[in-house]
């Protein structure tokens, strides 16, 4: 369960003078992601998705507001929050000179599992995520799909209640994307809280139980897909997104007639 309340974060302007106005990456973000559901954080590039996830992952300290992961405050109980959370950043960031198995096992050990448990858990995940073909190969030259699987296995290795993924389907082909969807659905069915960010409407529409639209560092709207469509009076998520951002949906004039 993730609860974010009025999160705000700004960064010093880069390349400018010290007195340049800081960049407000996240202005006011409040939302909840419940257990047993997949919540999509939908927004354009630069809307503040990654900064929000990084604050929830305790990697950035919020300037304002607060957030809790399963009741653990991300500022005051950093290690508690991290123990509940599996975080897969935008880039897989796996170690190229280690095998897939070693990559996962390393994270298992760092998450506090004893050696034998870590080996067993790594083996389970390799089977569960169908990584057997490449589990003992060094990660140099892995396909994007293989890298994503390793990164996902690493995020899941300590059996966290909450899973957070930053644009996980980036660079994945159709089959790999479908495979990842199945995995996330299965996790949600088992009661995990899954939060993932994306800018791909179709992705979010197909997968998410609840959609939170973020624009310009603020939450524009948060609801189920049918709820969103109803509240915006639109028939498609893309149109609902445009309307939620305060724009009008322009329909091309019908040709002929």
């Amino acid at each position: 369960m993730i609860v974010a309340e009025s999160l705000g974060k700004s960064f010093p302007a880069t390349g400018g003078s010290r007195r340049a106005t800081p960049v407000q990456a996240v202005k006011e973000v409040s939302f909840e992601a419940a257990d047993g559901q997949i919540t999509g954080l939908l927004g354009a590039n630069g809307a503040g998705k990654s900064t929000t996830l990084r604050m929830l992952a305790t990697l950035l300290r919020p300037d304002r507001g607060q957030a809790r992961i399963d009741g653990h405050d991300v500022e005051t109980d950093v290690l508690g929050a991290r123990r509940q959370l599996g975080y897969m950043p935008h880039e897989a960031g796996i170690y190229p000179r280690l095998s897939a198995r070693e990559n996962v096992h390393y994270y298992a050990r760092l998450s506090g599992l004893p050696a034998a448990d870590a080996r067993r858990r790594t083996g389970e995940l390799i089977e569960q995520l169908e990584m057997g073909d490449f589990a003992d190969r060094r990660a140099t030259g892995f396909s994007q799909g293989q890298k994503t699987k390793v990164a996902l296995a690493r995020a899941l290795v300590h059996a966290p209640r909450t899973l957070m993924l930053d644009e996980p389907t980036n660079g994945l082909d159709v089959m790999a994307t479908r495979g990842l969807r199945d995995i996330l659905r299965a996790l949600a069915e088992r009661g995990h809280c899954v939060l993932f960010s994306s800018h791909v409407m179709q992705e979010v529409a197909v997968l998410c139980d609840r959609i939170t639209i973020i624009a310009d560092g603020r939450i524009a709207i948060s609801d189920t897909l049918p709820g969103l469509l109803e509240r915006t009076g639109q028939g498609q998520l893309e149109d609902a997104f445009v309307v939620a951002l305060g724009h009008r949906v322009e329909r091309p004039a019908r040709l002929g007639g």
């Binding site: 990084r54 300290r61 950043p89």
Partner: protein, 391 residues
């Protein structure tokens, strides 16, 4: 602090980097083996060329040996056997057929009998080191023979030979090992320190700036670990490589200096096992210092390229004391002792020259170096606690 996490990170970084050829080359081959071989080997070779071994039996090409039987007998007594010179002595030396030719000129015997200066010519090729060295040996022997004969001539005429000695100059070199001994003594700390720095260099960059560049730092920082555990884990791996490089370098230096002729190294200069072990022991506090310096500087940089540039510039640091001590005559004074690297240079040099080391100096060196390491590590942990580490 969870020591198990620290150890897990250390072991992973060591295994990971042992699979990297560049890191392994610099840690296990370049510093410990190639550098001592290149530096020590060339020094040994030049010493061998410069020094003359009067015990060594050599052949000397002599033209007109029959004119100087007593001189030939003297030379034979000095381990120099005369052989017949080629017909064209100058040409033969120029062509490199023989290193030098000693030519006993016509009229040599007559001049000797009349107590006039008897003429000898040494044909040599000064550009050729072997020829110049052979000529110096023969010149020295001829000088000795000449001095003996001078004295005999004067005594024959009833004169005390010492009448002609206006000055009696005594050179008392208290260093006992001369300039070359000093240079050799500072070579071990130089090799040891450069080798240790090179040993940890690429691993430190790979585990900090490299990790950030590969985007593997972000998920790592999201794990339930304290930041100082991550820094200490990486420090541990760097320290292991620094120690290994230092140990291997000490071993190869010990092996290399066994090839040096003992009299060349002077009476005090020693590179035997106890000396090398003592040097390694004195350099021990430097290992955490070097590891923490490498980790902290490369964690501070934004990319591996920048880390390489900064640490490359920093490589001057281990070399600086070597050059400073060559130019300035600095003794082990109290204010120099707490400085890492400089104090180790001074202490190691004295230890190799078999000079006494004061317990105070050693303690100041150890405490100063360890304090500097702790400060650097603390700075490294601060860097990892800062959000900027991800930027």
């Amino acid at each position: 602090m969870n020591l198990r996490s620290v150890l897990v990170i250390t072991v992973k970084e060591i295994v990971d980097n042992l699979r990297d050829r560049q890191t392994v080359f610099y840690a296990l081959l370049f510093g410990p083996i190639l550098l001592p071989l290149i530096l020590g080997g060339s020094l040994a070779a030049s010493f061998k060329q410069l020094s003359i071994d009067f015990e060594e039996v050599t052949e000397l090409a002599v033209a007109g040996a029959a004119r100087a039987p007593s001189l030939m007998a003297f030379l034979a007594g000095q381990n120099v056997d005369a052989v017949a010179a080629p017909d064209d002595p100058r040409g033969a030396v120029a062509r490199g057929e023989v290193p030098i030719v000693l030519q006993v000129d016509v009229g040599y015997e007559q001049a000797l009998r009349r107590a006039r200066p008897a003429s000898l010519t040494i044909h040599l090729d000064e550009a050729d080191k072997a020829s110049a060295k052979a000529a110096r040996r023969v010149e020295a022997l001829l000088g000795a023979w000449e001095r003996t004969n001078d004295r005999l001539r004067l005594q024959h005429r009833g004169l005390d030979p010492t009448v002609f000695d206006t000055l009696d100059i005594v050179l008392d070199d208290v260093s006992s090992d001369g300039a070359s001994g000093q240079l050799l003594a500072s070579l071990l700390p130089f090799l040891l320190i450069v080798s240790m720095v090179m040993g940890g260099f690429y691993l430190a960059i790979d585990t900090t700036a490299g990790e950030r560049e590969r985007h593997s730092l972000e998920p790592l920082l999201g794990l339930p670990l304290a930041r100082h555990e991550i820094v200490l884990g990486k420090f541990g791996a760097t320290l292991a490589f620094v120690c290994l490089s230092g140990l291997l370098c000490a071993l190869s230096v010990w092996g290399l200096f066994r090839l040096f002729p003992a009299d060349l190294l002077g009476s005090r200069l020693r590179f035997d096992a106890p000396t090398v072990a003592a040097a390694l022991l004195l350099a021990l506090p430097l290992m955490p210092f070097i590891a923490s310096l490498l980790i902290t500087v490369s964690a501070w940089t934004r990319s591996t390229k920048q880390a390489q540039t900064y640490l490359g510039a920093l490589m001057v640091l281990p070399m600086a004391p070597f050059f400073v001590l060559q130019f300035l005559n600095l003794g082990p004074s109290a204010w120099l002792m707490p400085w890492p690297m400089l104090s180790q240079y001074l202490l190691l040099e004295r230890s190799i020259l078999d000079l006494p080391l004061s317990a105070g100096s050693v303690a100041a060196s150890v405490i100063g170096t360890l304090a500097a390491s702790a400060l650097l590590l603390w700075l490294g942990c601060r860097l990892y606690r800062h959000e900027r580490i991800l930027a």
